[in-house]
């Protein structure tokens, strides 16, 4: 799956989970950049991404992701 496609599919998920209809997914984006990105919605986001892409993140994956770009790379690796 191409990075661009992943980004396109992530956008509605992020908008839903963080309740922000104007949100644009960027590689450098972190929790600090999104008002409603807290520990609770983080878990909801991981859950939604896992279901949407049919992937499963390990605890280490979840802890090591530094920004959305790394999340996209992880999805790319796991989803093949």
């Amino acid at each position: 799956m191409e990075t661009a496609e992943i980004k396109t599919r992530l956008t509605p998920i992020f908008r839903d989970v963080f309740s922000d209809n104007a949100l644009e997914v960027k590689d450098t984006m972190t929790a600090d950049d999104v008002v409603k990105w807290d520990s609770l919605s983080h878990i909801n986001m991981i859950y939604a991404v896992e279901r949407a892409f049919g992937v499963k993140f390990s605890i280490r994956d979840a802890r090591s992701m530094k920004n959305v770009g790394e999340l996209i790379q992880l999805i790319k690796k796991k989803a093949g």
């Binding site: 839903d16 989970v17 309740s19 520990s39 609770l40 878990i43 909801n44 859950y47 939604a48 279901r51 993140f57 390990s58 605890i59 979840a62 802890r63």
Partner: protein, 600 residues
């Protein structure tokens, strides 16, 4: 639809939670105050509880106790739990926590007793400070076993100790009046214990189960809370053809329907057995079927494999009217709210019609295969309750008698056919010593169908009973559905050339059955035998007896005078009375004896 497993999707519910108004915005609706204490994280659970409650029209004010501070909150009278003042307290204890404590325990022998003792002590302590109901979870058994299948053979294995704790909790909860159980282990097992926990989420955030199952957990906890608040299923309305048996009774006949010991027949029998168990536990069963009544009832009477019998059904409606109307009829007869009804019908058309017209009824989607019916119902957890007593065992019979009368009425367009079908039996007797207390009671209580409202006491009644010149009479009515007992009092006294109706009253339970026509026929027959020229009577108005102001007129009496207070005097010549048609047989008629007055 109120419930459906498909509507319990985690992400959708989280999204929906944003639309749930904060409880204070719903004022003046008083929110239900619910506290959650848990040894795991409950933010998601609390959000789901509020959202699902809103779907049920309930505003929930939730207090989330601090993480893993169940004991602290309950044992400290100054805690925020008590200042919140909950109506319900969910105590959610996780198997993972218990397991880890058990692995750490130096001595396992007293572990089960200590754990149960600790919980029971919490219930007691909470009970002394709050009148709220506790909803206590059971512990989800771990899916790993160090001993394999030998696990339960070893008294201090994890599996054996967990099983013991859950069993002991159930035992103690039976005698604890302020405690309901929520069997989270049952929910986890029915989903699959191996599918229950998300090890990553537990490790990272102490989330008690996989997020995809958390709506089921929230719904299950909410079901218990709502049941405690009085919201629960009271009646299951059943279709017949292809719901209780396979095939169409009207076409296939008694031998042709699928019901018995194999294939579909077996599945229908299993379904009926579950319904019978529901009836045993106090849920009313009703039938609404598009059928000729005689066909619909036939399997209940004659099919050897029918589990449900006529007496299990509190209201039986079989006709060709639309089912929405018939369910309204059942509701009216049983007099319970639509939101406590579940309607089961294999036909999507009928389900949709009812859904459209009677929106509060719970209508599960039944798959085509009857072997899935029980499972579908179990999945929806439609039959919560917060109490069970002997009275529940009797409920079906109590509702049945009255419901059958009401429903039969709707099957006749001609009221006379209906009355004839009731098989009414009437007894006309003089007052006697056995009846005096009941007579006096009826005289005191009857307000509406009471012409003179004279309120004779028991002593006055006894005097009339002994007075040979007077004819103080009672009427008792029964029909094929049951016995009404003594329902009417008529007191006749000769007055010169006339026979006077001195008192006439009837219980309103037997209106419109023609009892008064039977009585009037007999009054005039008696007047004729006495040689009286006419029958006279009074209507004395009260605040409540407007119903009978035209009583005499309806039998052809003429108004012959006024009485103080707006009353009127009526008379009708004996030779002018035309006997009315009645639809009851006389079990006893003491006025028929040749010399009725002297004979007594």
């Amino acid at each position: 639809m109120k419930y459906s497993v498909e509507t319990l999707e985690y992400s959708d519910l989280i999204k929906e939670s944003l639309t749930v108004p904060k409880y204070d915005k719903l004022l003046p609706v008083k929110p239900m105050k619910l506290a959650i204490l848990a040894d795991c994280a409950v933010q998601q659970l609390a959000t789901l509880l509020k959202t699902l409650a809103a779907r049920n029209g309930v505003a929930l004010d939730v207090y989330e106790g601090g993480y893993d501070s169940i004991d602290l909150e309950i044992l400290n009278p100054e805690s925020a739990l008590y200042s919140f003042g909950p109506q319900y307290l969910i105590v959610l204890m996780c198997g993972e926590k218990l397991k880890s404590r058990l692995y750490d325990a130096a001595d396992r022998r007293s572990f089960a007793a200590d754990t149960v003792g600790r919980i029971e002590n919490l219930w007691r302590a909470f009970g002394t400070r709050s009148s709220a109901t506790i909803v206590q979870s059971t512990f989800v058994l771990p899916s790993e076993r160090a001993f394999g299948n030998y696990e339960l053979k070893v008294a201090d294995s994890v599996g054996a100790i967990f099983t013991e704790i859950n069993y002991q909790l159930a035992q103690r909860a039976r005698s604890a009046k302020n405690v309901l159980l929520n069997d989270v282990d049952f929910l986890a097992a029915s989903i699959g214990r191996r599918q229950w926990l998300d090890g990553r989420l537990w490790s990272m955030a102490k989330i008690p189960c996989r997020l995809e199952h958390m709506p089921r957990l929230a719904q299950s906890l909410l079901d218990t809370v709502l049941a405690a608040a009085g919201v629960f299923t009271r009646c299951v309305v059943l279709d017949l053809d292809n719901t209780l048996w396979g095939g169409v009774i009207g076409d296939d006949g008694l031998e042709g329907i699928a019901l018995g010991e194999f294939d579909e027949g077996e599945a229908f029998v299993a379904f009926q057995k579950f319904l019978k168990e529901l009836k045993r536990r106090g849920i009313l069963l009703a039938v609404v079927s598009k059928n000729e009544h005689a066909n619909a009832i036939l399997p209940f009477k004659e099919h050897p494999c029918m589990v449900l019998k006529e007496e299990d059904i509190s209201a039986f409606v079989a006709n060709w009217d639309n089912k929405a109307d018939n369910i309204r009829l059942v509701q009216k007869t049983l007099n319970i709210g639509f939101d406590s009804f579940v309607f089961l019908d294999d036909n999507p058309f009928e389900r949709n019609i009812v859904r459209e017209h009677v929106p509060n009824v719970i209508i599960p989607e039944l798959a085509e295969d009857p072997s899935s019916y029980v499972e579908t119902l179990a999945d929806l957890n439609l039959f919560e309750t917060a109490a069970f007593s002997e009275a529940d065992l009797q409920r079906a019979a109590q509702y049945r008698e009255e419901a059958q009368r009401e429903i039969i009425k709707t099957q006749f367009t001609n009221v006379n056919d209906y009355l004839a079908s009731l098989g009414m039996q009437i007894k006309l007797e003089r007052f006697n010593a056995f009846n005096l207390p009941r007579i006096a009671q009826l005289i005191q209580r009857s307000n509406q169908f009471n012409l003179m409202t004279r309120r004779y006491g028991e002593a006055a009644c006894e005097a009339m009973m002994k007075d040979k010149a007077c004819a103080p009479l009672t009427l008792k009515l029964s029909d094929k559905f049951g016995d009404y007992g003594l329902i009417s009092v008529v007191i006749l006294k000769p007055a010169g050339e006339a026979l006077e109706i001195d008192e006439y009253l009837m219980s309103c339970r037997v209106l419109q059955r023609g009892v008064e026509r039977f009585a009037m026929n007999n009054i005039f027959a008696y007047a004729q035998r006495l040689g009286a020229k006419r029958v006279v009577g009074h209507y004395l108005p009260t605040a409540k007896n407007d119903m009978v102001k035209n009583f005499f007129k309806s039998f052809g009496f003429e108004k012959v005078g006024e009485v103080d207070g707006g009353g009127s005097k009526w008379a009708l010549a004996v030779e002018d009375y035309r006997p009315r048609e009645v639809f009851m047989s006389e079990a006893v008629n003491e006025l028929h004896t040749p010399e009725p007055v002297d004979a007594l």
